[in-house]
């Protein structure tokens, strides 16, 4: 420990100007975060500063090469690694922890209630900055090599991200995928660091790094969304077992569905709607479903893989080609697929006066303001005023809910889901927002009030279903046949 401290002091003495810059950037990022702004540039700048400092610290006692003066000095590899980790803790992790505590306190959260989140933030910084920077610096000779490696990794990541299916977003699979890929990258980084510091086997360590990056990219491209949904469900399972069965008879309105069917039929598609009984959802919990794939298997093993499929108000709704339907409408088909079920508890609705900043239980701190534009990506042909509602919380998963803008005395209120905002660099706070268009000249403060209802996640489950003996014609509506159909008595369902 004495020698590790000695080497650490030497690194600090050498790199103090960079450390001072990092602390300044850290303070600026924390200040931006603490006043409630989105600190993306400061966060990115901070991560680049940290990574650069860590690389410089490792290169102070370089591991690549055979001419360094220190390699014949009596410091064991654990001492050297300890010194570099100490540097990372002192320059990256302690300032980050302090900044996070300050930001939490400044935004009205009690830091001691968020100890687990503070530790998670430390792990995140280690996974995204500390370990990769130390691992790369340990196996690369200089900054030019490092720049090439970073460009190669970034290019590969961009290619891999380009192949990500749209359903990743609906399934919350992207978050799971990021966690899995980051875990693989971290494991590779740990092996690289250990191997290089302990044995100085540069090429072997580089190969581990290359393998880690390739495995991560392959996972990104090839891991099916439903697998990721299963991983997520395993980490936070639903409290009871959910299953689907075909419902005998039918209830409910299909108007939105028929509207969609009409639109699709013009494009050579029609819509199959299967009424379901969804069982196993505990009382008091609401549910949402995502069905990434459904296979329709006709006699003779003819198989059609349906695209967009929805489970809405106990109806399984999928699109099939008109030609497929017309050819097989009297045949009995089988519907086979998987659905991700997300359970949540609807929290108490809180009223939020306009312009007031308030903690909403189960959600986080929310505020609203009238603005000219909800964001650069949205533009309108004529000027509008908007009411933007923004909520923030140290827990990103709790930032789901429904926002209503209600006119005083008016029971019907328009509403919208909170949508998560762009990642705020390495901020401990996640933010979500919703926007409403206001009438010209309207002063929302005088006649409107906001209501926010949090949806508190209660776990998820992947439900596999296999519905068979379905006569296609009984579940498909054609233009001109806009009437509700029931199911055939003989239809069976299984989980």
């Amino acid at each position: 420990m004495r020698l590790a401290l000695h080497i650490f002091k030497k690194d600090v003495r050498r790199l103090w100007p960079g450390i001072a810059i990092a602390l300044l950037v850290q303070a600026a990022a924390a200040w931006v975060d603490a006043v409630g702004a989105t600190a993306v540039p400061a966060g990115v700048l901070l991560m680049i500063t940290w990574a650069t400092l860590l690389v410089l610290a490792v290169h102070e006692d370089p591991l690549v090469g055979d001419r360094q003066f220190w390699i014949t000095r009596p410091g064991r590899w654990r001492v050297l690694l300890g010194a570099k980790l100490l540097f990372a803790v002192a320059v990256v992790h302690v300032p980050l922890l302090v900044a996070d505590i300050v930001v939490l306190a400044a935004r009205g959260f009690r830091p001691w209630e968020w100890v687990a989140r503070l530790l998670t933030e430390q792990l995140l910084a280690a996974a995204v900055v500390t370990l990769p920077a130390i691992a790369l610096a340990a196996v690369l000779r200089n900054f030019a090599h490092l720049a090439l490696a970073v460009i190669a990794i970034a290019g590969l990541s961009a290619l891999a991200a380009n192949g990500t299916p749209e359903s990743y977003g609906w399934l919350h699979a992207a978050e799971t995928l990021v966690v899995l890929v980051t875990t693989v990258a971290c494991a590779a980084a740990v092996v690289m660091i250990w191997w290089q510091f302990a044995r100085r086997r540069t090429w072997a360590s580089r190969l581990v790094g290359i393998a880690g990056v390739l495995v991560g990219a392959l996972m990104w491209v090839f891991l099916p969304p439903i697998f990721l949904a299963r991983v997520r469900a395993a980490a936070n399972p639903a409290p009871s077992r959910i299953s689907f069965h075909v419902r005998s008879g039918s209830t409910g309105s299909l108007d939105p569905i028929t509207a969609m069917a009409r639109g699709r039929a013009l494009a050579g598609m029609t819509v199959m709607t299967v009424p379901l009984n969804v069982s196993g959802i505990p009382a008091g919990l609401a549910s949402g479903f995502v069905v990434p794939t459904v296979d329709i298997i006709a006699p003779g093993h003819e198989r059609y893989q349906a695209g967009a499929t929805y489970l809405w108000q106990d109806w399984l709704i999928t699109e099939i080609p008109l030609e497929f339907y017309q050819r097989l409408k009297d045949a009995k088909v089988e519907l086979k697929g998987s659905a991700a079920a997300f359970l949540y508890r609807v929290g108490s609705t809180a009223s939020l006066p306009l312009g007031v900043d308030r903690l909403v239980p189960g959600l986080g701190r929310c505020s609203s303001e009238a603005i000219e534009s909800p964001g650069p990506e949205i533009s309108y042909s004529r000027p509008h005023h908007f009411l933007k509602v923004e909520c923030e919380s140290p827990s990103a998963s709790s930032l789901t809910g429904f926002v209503r803008l209600r006119r005083t005395g008016d029971p019907d209120a328009g509403g919208t889901e909170l949508g998560s905002m762009a990642a705020t660099g390495i901020s401990i706070l996640a933010r979500a927002s919703a926007s409403f268009i206001l009438d010209q000249g309207e002063n929302p403060q005088s006649s409107w009030r906001l209501e926010i209802t949090p949806n508190i996640p209660q776990g998820s489950q992947v439900v596999s279903f296999d519905l068979h003996d379905l006569r296609l014609g009984d579940y498909v509506q054609q233009p001109g046949e806009w009437r509700l159909r029931g199911t055939r008595d003989g239809a069976k369902g299984s989980k």
Partner: protein, 311 residues
């Protein structure tokens, strides 16, 4: 007497290059053992393999009784290493550099460090990057002698240095650490001759000889034979006679196994009509040149058995 440094068939290959082949040496305790050889002979590879900077491909080396692959902080605290192309922390001043190194060595002597700084005339407040090459080597040497290492390895320490600096370095090594064993590689044969007690010659990764300097000087002679009349030389001359040249009535060669009585007998046998024989002692430089010349590819296989009496 135990050996602080020994190797057994130590071999190091870099992909398709055999940088070091079957090196077997034993360095006596307290000796100044010089490893010489032309550029690319494998001297630096040998040094780095000894210090576990490179892992041996085969064979083994032992330093201070420990296998080179297992060298740890305890052993490095008793080994000093200075290399001409060592990468130093250039941003450090000499003073900070020495105080930084101090913490790594339990046996570090501040008094010795102060004395080394004085003797080597090191400017404590100058950054290493602002020092001349000679001064940098001096700083490295000071940092490697202040803890009185048992074994000192010097890789081409004198390259490009002026005579005065070389003299200072040699004196420092010999005076400050009289009990240490010194193993050094060098091109500078004249300098080596003045203070090395043992010498080994490496060529193309292979050891050609390794022995005490006095024994080497004793067994090499530059022989000039003047004959009565011009005549053909016999075909079966001793293999220990190297680089034979014959012009008119004069024949010249290097006897690599010179031994007064046997030499006289051989001369009488092969040159019965010799009018005069002149045997001159050789400098180390002349011996090395003779051996290098004899070790050229065409002659190498023929001569090797005679000129490789390794210790």
């Amino acid at each position: 007497m135990s050996s602080p440094l020994r190797t057994e068939r130590l071999t190091k290959n870099f992909r398709h290059v055999d940088a070091l082949r079957d090196l077997s040496i034993e360095v006596p305790e307290g000796s100044v053992f010089a490893l010489v050889g032309p550029n690319g002979a494998g001297k630096t590879t040998a040094m780095k393999t000894l210090l576990n900077i490179h892992e041996p491909t085969s064979g083994r080396a032992e330093l201070l009784g420990v296998d080179s692959r297992s060298l740890a902080a305890r052993e490095f605290a008793r080994i000093g290493y200075v290399s001409e192309n060592q990468k130093m922390p250039d941003w450090m001043t000499v003073g900070y550099f020495l105080s930084y190194c101090r913490e790594f060595y339990p046996e570090w002597s501040d008094a010795d460090a102060v004395e080394l700084v004085r003797v080597l005339e090191l400017p404590l407040d100058r950054k290493l990057r602002h020092l001349s090459r000679g001064m940098r080597v001096k700083a490295a040497l000071a940092s490697s002698l202040a803890y009185r290492p048992k074994l000192i390895l010097l890789d081409e320490p004198f390259g490009g240095l002026d005579v005065l600096v070389r003299e200072q370095l040699i004196e420092s090594v010999l005076d400050r650490t009289p009990e240490a064993t010194v193993f050094l590689s060098s091109h500078d044969l004249a300098e080596i001759e003045s203070f090395a007690s043992h010498i080994a010659y490496l060529s193309d990764g292979r050891l050609l000889f390794a022995e005490e300097m006095s024994a080497l000087s004793a067994r090499f002679r530059d022989i000039e034979v003047t004959l009565d009349e011009e005549s053909e030389l016999p075909a079966d001359l001793p293999v220990a006679w190297l680089n034979l040249e014959h012009a008119g009535v004069v024949a010249r060669f290097i006897d690599s196994q010179f031994d007064g009585e046997r030499h006289r007998v051989d001369i009488q046998h092969f040159f019965p009509r010799a009018r005069s024989v002149n045997a001159r002692a050789m400098t180390l430089r002349a011996i090395i040149l003779a051996v290098s010349k004899a070790a050229q590819p065409a002659k190498r296989e023929l001569r090797r058995s005679e000129v490789t009496p390794c210790v």
